[in-house]
Structures are given as C-alpha cells and as structure tokens.
Amino acid sequence: MREQRMVPEASPDSYYGRPIIKEPTWKTPDVPLYLFLGGLAGASAVLAEGAAVTDRPDLERVARVAAGAGAALGTVALVHDLHRPERFLNMLRVLKPTSPLSVGSWILAPFSGLSAAAAASSVTGRLPRVGRLAGVGATVLGPPLATYTAALLANTAVPAWHEAHRELPFVFAGSGATAAGGFACLFTPLDQAGPARRMLAAGALVELAAAERLTGRLGLVGEPYGQGRPGRLMRTARVLTAVGGTAALVAGRRSRTVSVLAGAACVAASVLTRFGIFEAGTASARDPKYTVEPQRERLRARAAERARTLGR
C-alpha cells in the first residue's frame, strides 16, 4: 500500500490554494432554516386549501397554522439574516426579476399576511369568509414560495448550487411537500390525515428522484453533496425520507403512532436536506477546484471545437 501524503501537493492551478469566489455570508441556521420553513409553509397552504374544499376541518386547521407560523418564523429568520436588519423594508424598494431574493420578498410578504389571516380565522372561527379568501390567496403564492428558494441558491456563482439549477426546484418542491404532509400527520386525526400522508409520500418520491438526478448529473461539482458534513446530512435525510414515506404509505392509515413517527421523520428529513444543500454549496465555494476545473474543461472543449471547425 502506498503511503498517504500528509500535505496536499502544491497545485499550479490556484493562487496558494485560496478560494476564487467568496463563500456566502448568509448565516446558519437562519438561511437553511428559512429554506425549510418556506417549503413547509408554501406546501401547507396547498394542503390547507385542499382540506377546505374536501371538508376536512381538522386537517385544514393544522395546515393553515403550519402555513402561517412557517411564514412568520421564516420572515423572522430572513430579517435576522440581514447584516442591517433595520433596513429590511428596502427588500420591497424595487421588484427585480433578475434577483430571486427580490421576487421572493414580494412572494413572502403577501403570503405571510394572507396565511396569518387564514390561520387566525381557522383557529378562532371568526370571519370565516375573509379567512377562506385569504387562504385561497396563500394557496396561489404557496407553490412559488416553496420553490423560488431554489433559484435563490442557484442564481449565484457557487458551483454546487448553480450547476444544480435544473434539479434544485424539484428537490425543494418535494422537500416542501414531505415537510407539509409530515407536519400535518403529527397533529391530524387519522380519519382526516389521508391527503397529508399521500402528500408526504409523493413529496418523498419527487425529492429522492430529483436529488438522485442532481448528484448523478453534476459529476465533480456534485461531490460536496456526498462528502463530509453535508454528505452525512444528505444521507441521513435520504434514509429518513425513504423510511418515513414508506411507513406512512404502508401502515399510516391504520396506526396513529406510525403516522406520527413517519411525519416526524419527514419533517426532520426536510430540515436536514436544506442544511445539507446549503453546506454543500459553501463547501464548493471554499475549494477553488470546483470553480476552476469545470471552467478549464469548458475552455478545453471550446478550443477542441474550434480546432475541429478550422480543420474541416
């Protein structure tokens, strides 16, 4: 067996091994937590409206509260993440389609108000029509709230995020659905929790498939999703999602205990997924090879293409 080097060989491909791009200054747990809460809230709004339409009052109440509380806590996390929180209202100073954070602020602000109103009405029983109307509004904004955060991460120079821009929205949609379904399973009686279990299971399927495709397609740049702490977070999340999804489908209908445990597993998995993805991105920003090597590869391919065209 060859001896392992204690020090990595000096590489001519970087400036003293320093990162080329800056590591995100976004705070943990604020931002990954917000990613989770946004997904939970957005998908819960959809679940709540379905429950209202199909007359499942207990499920509706739980989901409305999840949507309202998720958005409120998410807003707090997002404002807390600002390095100048007293200027948070500047987020609504302009609307820029090139900035997912701007678009997201314009989704989150009305969603927070609407989902809070819907939750308050659902819990107190007051102003049912206004509450319902607010709920419909939140349902329209919910899916974009759960998925725009993928563009938030992807629209950066961070290799592991940017290169994943096709799959991340689906991972986040699935993860949001598993969280919303899982949360509802925790507090909803069995006879009304059917849609929550199905949402959990379907979300788990979408999330696992999209994450699988993501790491498969990304190659070198996808490495951080499987290594170190982010790798452990992602693997644990995957197991919890698979186990929770399967348990909910197989035995969740008969046993409240199984339903609750499956729900808890899926909520936890959604949290872990967001932290895993967040940390994989920062890891890929720290190591210059994830920035340099794909770009070198691109240049080589372009040069080869040019040579081919000239040779013809």
């Binding site: 001519p12 491909d13 400036y15 003293y16 320093r18 990162p19 080329i20 791009i21 800056k22 590591e23 995100p24 200054t25 959809v46 679940l47 379905g50 993440d81 390095h83 100048r84 200027r87 500047n90 987020m91 100073r93 302009v94 820029k96 389609p97 090139t98 900035s99 997912p100 954070l101 899916p143 974009p144 759960a146 998925t147 993928a150 992807a154 629209n155 950066t156 120079a157 940017h162 821009h165 991340l168 929205p169 689906f170 986040f172 949609a173 949001g176 659905a177 379904g181 006879d191 059917g194 849609p195 929550a196 949402m199 979408v206 920035t291 340099v292 770009q295 070198r296 691109r298 240049l299």
Partner: protein
C-alpha cells in the same frame, strides 16, 4: 432589450437607462510591468477611506493582503514560480534608467532571478473589481443598492444596502464582500467621485509604472491589443489578455488585464460566466416545480376518503 443578461453589449450605460452619457470608462492593468509596490492598494485605501482589515502575515509570500474584499479594493498578487514553467529572460519594456535600448542589454533584466537550478520568476498583478458588462452582483441585488453608473461602472449605494449578502456569492470573481462590523457590502467604485470630476482613479494615479491604466474602454482595448502584440513579438509566450473579450461569459470586463500565465495562477477564474445567463432556465424550472407541487397537492386529495 437584447443581450441585457449575457453576450456582447456595447452600450452598457444606455442599457441601464442612461440616455445621454459619457463613454464607458475602465482599467487596463498590464501586469507585465507591475513591480508589486502596492502603491495602488495604499492610494485606494487613503482616497476612499477604506478601513484597515487585518495586519496579519499570510506566511505564503510577500502578499499579506490576501484577496479582494469589503475593505480591500485593490489587491496585489505575488506569484513565485520556479523558472522553466513558462519563461526565459525578456525585456518587458519597464520604464527605468540605464543604457538606451540599442546598447548591450544588462545582464538579467525582467522579472527573473537566476541562481543555478533554483531560479524563480515573480508574477505580480494588481487585481480589482472587473466592473463586468453583465454584473451578477448588480443583477441579484434585491434592494437596487448596486447600480450601473453613467460611466458603465458598477457601484454600491451604501445608504440603501441592507447587508443581505446576495451579491457576495453571486460575483464570479469573488470581489464584493460584507464588511464585518458594518454589515454592508463594499467594493471598488472605480473612484466614482473622482472620475465624475474628470480625475483619474486613485490607484491608476499612484501607479509608478503605468501598470494600471485608466481611460475610455474602447481605447484601452486597442492599447492592450498593441501591447500584447509587442510582447508576443518579443517572445513572451504566456502573455494573454484577460477580460477584454466582449464575447466572454460576462460580456467583457470594464477592468481587464494583461497576464503572463493562466488566470487561475493569479486567483482569477479561467472562464467566468455571469450566473444570470441561466436566469430563464432557472425560472422555468422553478415554475415547473411549482406546477408539480400543485399537481402533487391535488393528487393527494384524489382517491379514498381516509
């Protein structure tokens, strides 16, 4: 407007909404004549009142500045290379004293020292914000704090910035950063206050070898092309322009460079691309995923009652 997000764009200021505006201004940093004096770093700090950001030693080279950041708007990189990697002794046309060019050249001019087999050459380069044609920091800024000036440069309005930090990981060059203790994002303004008065930016003014040249971008590009030709004629194999091509991933830089080795050797990305080039695809996928979430929600309510 076409090419607002990526690709060549001649009139950046016009694209940003400036109707009558001066020509696009920029920097051409010719690293072949940089002597690593760091006058640019000092001049920038002094003029712009940029605070101190660490007086530590990196222990890796004469570069104790490290990298561009919120309080470092010019950064001189020092690269120590074993001879043989790219070079032989060449007169780079450094300004200086000594015999006229037609006299016998003195022994060992240029950037190399030779001492038997252990010779090294030094690459020095003053890095700065690139003031991209397609600036990711500006695109992603949610408050409108970052804006495009009438000179085509990119500047942060510090009275607007709320420190969200989105510009930091968006920059493909790792230039802009949040200043600790202050919370807002800072970077080179290309001395917006000075150039508005017809003055030269502090770094270019202070540069003793004219390694940093300030002027109209079109003119700088021509000048850089000529300089590259000269160096290539003299046999400097590694010489290349970096950021001068309007067809590159950021539509060309407002501040571009003449380098003597691969960009990554200087800590620069070899083929940077503005992230918003893929904006359409990102929003399409987000939309599709949101649609999938709706479908998934509806499907959850189909089928049996329990």
């Amino acid at each position: 407007m076409s090419n607002s997000l990526s690709g060549p764009l001649h009139d950046v200021a016009g694209d940003a909404g400036h109707e009558a505006h001066p020509p696009r201004m920029g920097f051409f940093t010719d690293t072949s004549v940089c002597i690593g004096c760091k006058a640019c770093e000092v001049a920038c700090k002094e003029w712009n009142l940029v605070p101190e950001d660490g007086l530590s030693l990196t222990g890796m080279s004469y570069d104790n500045t490290g990298a561009l950041g919120a309080s470092t708007w010019r950064h001189v990189a020092f690269v120590e290379q074993p001879i043989g990697r790219a070079s032989r002794s060449t007169d780079l046309g450094m300004p200086g004293m000594g015999p006229p060019p037609d006299a016998t050249p003195p022994a060992g001019p240029g950037q190399e020292t030779e001492s038997g087999e252990g010779g090294v050459r030094w690459l020095m380069s003053s890095d700065v914000c690139k003031h991209c044609t397609h600036a990711a920091c500006l695109d992603v800024c949610p408050t409108g704090s970052l804006f495009r000036t009438e000179f085509g440069t990119v500047v942060v309005q510090e009275d607007i910035c709320n420190g969200c930090g989105y510009c930091v990981p968006a920059c493909p060059y790792g230039v802009i950063d949040i200043r600790p203790g202050d919370g807002r994002a800072f970077k080179c303004t290309l001395c917006y206050d000075r150039i508005g008065e017809g003055m030269t930016p502090a770094c270019a003014q202070a540069c003793p070898t004219e390694s940093i040249q300030y002027g109209e971008l079109d003119e700088l590009r021509e000048r850089a092309g000529r300089r590259l030709g000269e160096l290539q004629e003299q046999g400097v194999d590694g010489a290349r322009l970096y950021g001068a091509d309007p067809d590159d991933g950021v539509g060309g830089d407002g501040a571009f460079f003449l380098l003597l080795d691969e960009p990554e050797v200087y800590g620069l990305p070899p083929d940077p691309v503005v992230t918003t080039r893929d904006l359409g695809s990102m929003w399409r996928h987000v939309g599709a995923a949101a649609g999938a979430l709706v479908g998934l929600g509806v499907a959850s309510f189909l089928g049996r009652r329990r």
